[in-house]
Each structure stands twice: as structure tokens, then as C-alpha cells.
């Protein structure tokens, strides 16, 4: 199925030049807190993508009927209902991961990506572009999570998805896991570095002042 230029922009823009985490500064909280291991990062990325896409579709369908003054409450209710469904599904099928994510599944409700995209995109566009925009932003958020989770688990515990990848020989030669990578502040450093790399590539994203 061929996509029109606008739909392509909605889907692919957020992956890179319009990334929700790096450029729009949305959804930072959970991006940092759940990434100490790769597995919760993946689950979180999938959960957020699904919720964003469907919330975008629902709000886009309702956009002509919602009175402007109470739209935030309507949006919150739609999002909270979707998140409740996702959280129950996780409890049923991935209980351990759900335990690890603890309050952060519930906190998808207040993930700024959702509100940001609903306000900025779904209220002004039809259901199909909104769906693509939701998927795009979810994935744009997801790849950051996965990259950060990958490095933190690899360097911090020497494992990936719980499987040992740093060979035993390295440890015998004196290699040590970097315990600092598991601590929360390292996520901030990693995202800071990703921003640095991205902005040296795209000069027009650089900010003039500090």
C-alpha cells in the first residue's frame, strides 16, 4: 500500500528529525526510569506505541464533537481507559515485567507524548493520519528507550534480555561490570549524548542560547 507524502511524514518524521524525546521534549520521565534493562524498555515501548496510536484514532474520530473547554478531561479519560486495558493485559501475560515497571505503566496516562500528540495532531487531522502519527511517535520514543536500555544493560550487567553476552574470559582478565550504568542518573547522560550526536548531525536543531 503506497502512502501519500503527508502520511509518510507523519509516520517517519518522529523517528528522526521530529523525535518526541530528543526534539519535542515529551515523555522523558518514563524514558529514563524504565531503561535499566532491555526487556522492560521493549515492553514499555510497545505499550506506549499502542496507546498513542489508538488514543490518537479515538480523539481524531471525536474531534468534531468534543467541546473545546473540556477537551483535556475527555482526552485524559480516553487515555486512562486505554492504559487500564494495557495494564490489565500486562498483568495477565507478563506479570514479572509488570512488577518491574511498577507505577510506570499507570504513568503512561500522564506521559506527555500522549497529550502532546493529541493536542498537536489528532485534534486537527483525520483518523488515518492520526493513527500513523501515533505509531510514528511511539516508535520514535521506543527506539530511544531501546538504545538506552541496550547500553545500560550491556555495560551495567553484561547481559542482554537476561542472557549473558560478555564472555567469562573477559571477567577472568579483570573486566568488571560498570555498576554506575544501572543507577538512574546514567540514563540522563546517555540521552544527553544521543541529543549531542543528533544535533551535531542536524545543525538546524541546535539552539542559539543555553
Amino acid at each position: 500500500m503506497a502512502l501519500s507524502a503527508k502520511a509518510k511524514q507523519a509516520l517517519l518524521g518522529p523517528l528522526n528529525k521530529n523525535n518526541p524525546v530528543l526534539v519535542q521534549v515529551l515523555g522523558i520521565c518514563s524514558a529514563l526510569a524504565v531503561t535499566s534493562k532491555l526487556e522492560p524498555s521493549l515492553v514499555m515501548a510497545i505499550a506506549v506505541t499502542i496507546v498513542t496510536a489508538f488514543a490518537n484514532v479515538i480523539i481524531s474520530l471525536l474531534r468534531k464533537t468534543i467541546p473545546n473547554r473540556i477537551r483535556i478531561i475527555v482526552q485524559l479519560v480516553v487515555v486512562a481507559a486505554l492504559v487500564t486495558i494495557v495494564s490489565e493485559v500486562l498483568k495477565a501475560f507478563a506479570y514479572d515485567v509488570n512488577k518491574q515497571l511498577s507505577v510506570f505503566v499507570g504513568l503512561i496516562v500522564t506521559n506527555c507524548i500522549l497529550m502532546g500528540r493529541l493536542e498537536a495532531f489528532a485534534l486537527g487531522n483525520g483518523p488515518w493520519p492520526s493513527f500513523l502519527d501515533g505509531i510514528g511517535n511511539g516508535l520514535g520514543y521506543g527506539w530511544i528507550l531501546v538504545v538506552v536500555g541496550f547500553f545500560r544493560e550491556l555495560l551495567g550487567s553484561g547481559t542482554l534480555l537476561g542472557i549473558q553476552v560478555v564472555p567469562e574470559v573477559f571477567y577472568n582478565m579483570g573486566y568488571e561490570n560498570n555498576g554506575l550504568m544501572i543507577l538512574p542518573p546514567m540514563a540522563l547522560f546517555l540521552v544527553g549524548i544521543i541529543i549531542w550526536i543528533q544535533r551535531s548531525k542536524y545543525k538546524d536543531l541546535q539552539e542559539a542560547t543555553n
Binding site: 530528543l22 506527555c112 497529550m115
Partner: protein
């Protein structure tokens, strides 16, 4: 005594920003100058201190499994905890509306400088996070829950004011171009978080 220790712990050890990364969006966006940062921090503290006890009461008298018995024996098997997210966010959203009206009336200049971020307190993860942590930790009584909300709010206030003060000084430093703005803010926050980790061993 227990209450004081809980307040101190939630300000320094379990700091909302540095230990759990909650409320990051507005934390990064409104920390350009100290004055607005203080205003937003105070608003967040206010909303947290008021919503936590209300959500605590709702959680313990309406939502939890088997707590509806005060309505009669027939309700002993009712479990409404599935709805806790919806109820919590509704309470928070209505309180934010209240704060917005108060600030608009008494301090129009603060109202203008906070702009879109005032209504967005409703989706500030620190506030919903406070309620969800309260649900998880099962505090003994309303007083403890209120103390926790107050402490978390003050912790958030300290964090955002600290970052704003540092960013005001950063104006004068020479930072590599790609790192300016957002990048350096992330790294400064990381350094502050490492600083706050030194509190983590403290037992009061």
C-alpha cells in the same frame, strides 16, 4: 517523629525528580529562570499535598478490594481497584483546574509566565506518580499520606529551583553548539542526581 522522617526521606532520598524521574517534562521546560520555577514548584507542592490525602481516602474506603463493607455486608466482595487510575486522574485534573483559577485571580503575572504549563500540571507525572506510590506503599493513615505528598512536592520544588539557578549561570559559559539547551540540561540534571544519591544511605 515517623512523619518527620517520612517528609525528610521523600525530599532527599526518594526525590521525585532525581530518584524516579517524575515530572521531567515541565522540569526541563520551565527551569529557565528561578522566579517561574518557584511558582511552578509551589503549585505542584500545593496540588500534591491536597490530592494525596483525598486519593488515599478514596483508595482505602472505596477502591480497594473488600473495603466497601461500610455500605453493608453485600459489598464485601466488590473490587473497584481497576478504576483507580481513572479516579485518581479525575481528582487531580479538578484540583489543577482549581489552582489555575486561584493563580489567575491572585497573581496574573505568574499566570502568564507559566502559560501552558499550569494546566499541564494535571499531566505532570510527579502528581499521579505520588498517588500511585501511595497506593503501592500502603501508608498507615491519612497523616502519613499527606506528609508524603508534601515532602515529595518540596523535593520537586528544590530540584527545579536548583536547576533553574544553574541554568541562569550557564548563560555565561561556553558550551559546544550541539549540546546547548536541552543536551546540557540533561547532563546537569544527571550530575545533580548523582549528588542527591549521596543521601541514599541516610536512615532517619
Amino acid at each position: 517523629m515517623e512523619t518527620i522522617s517520612l517528609i525528610v526521606r521523600s525530599i532527599f532520598v526518594d526525590n521525585m525528580v532525581f530518584a524516579y524521574f517524575l515530572g521531567m517534562c515541565s522540569y526541563l521546560a520551565v527551569s529557565k529562570n528561578v522566579k517561574t520555577a518557584v511558582g511552578l514548584g509551589a503549585a505542584v507542592t500545593f496540588v500534591l499535598t491536597l490530592t494525596l490525602p483525598i486519593n488515599y481516602l478514596l483508595e482505602n474506603y472505596v477502591l480497594k478490594a473488600g473495603v466497601l463493607t461500610w455500605l453493608g455486608e453485600d459489598f464485601a466482595s466488590v473490587d473497584l481497584s481497576v478504576f483507580s487510575l481513572l479516579i485518581f486522574i479525575a481528582i487531580i485534573a479538578s484540583f489543577v483546574q482549581l489552582v489555575e483559577m486561584i493563580v489567575e485571580k491572585f497573581s496574573p503575572s505568574l499566570y502568564n509566565s507559566l502559560g501552558i504549563f499550569l494546566p499541564l500540571i494535571a499531566v505532570n507525572c510527579a502528581i499521579l506518580g505520588g498517588s500511585l506510590f501511595m497506593q503501592q506503599r500502603e501508608f498507615a493513615n491519612v497523616g502519613m499520606a499527606t506528609a508524603y505528598g508534601f515532602g515529595s512536592g518540596i523535593g520537586w520544588l528544590i530540584a527545579i529551583v536548583g536547576l533553574a539557578a544553574i541554568r541562569e549561570k550557564l548563560e555565561y559559559s561556553h558550551i559546544p553548539k550541539p549540546l546547548r539547551g536541552l543536551g546540557i540540561t540533561f547532563i546537569v540534571t544527571a550530575l545533580m542526581a548523582i549528588g542527591f544519591m549521596s543521601f541514599s544511605g541516610i536512615n532517619i
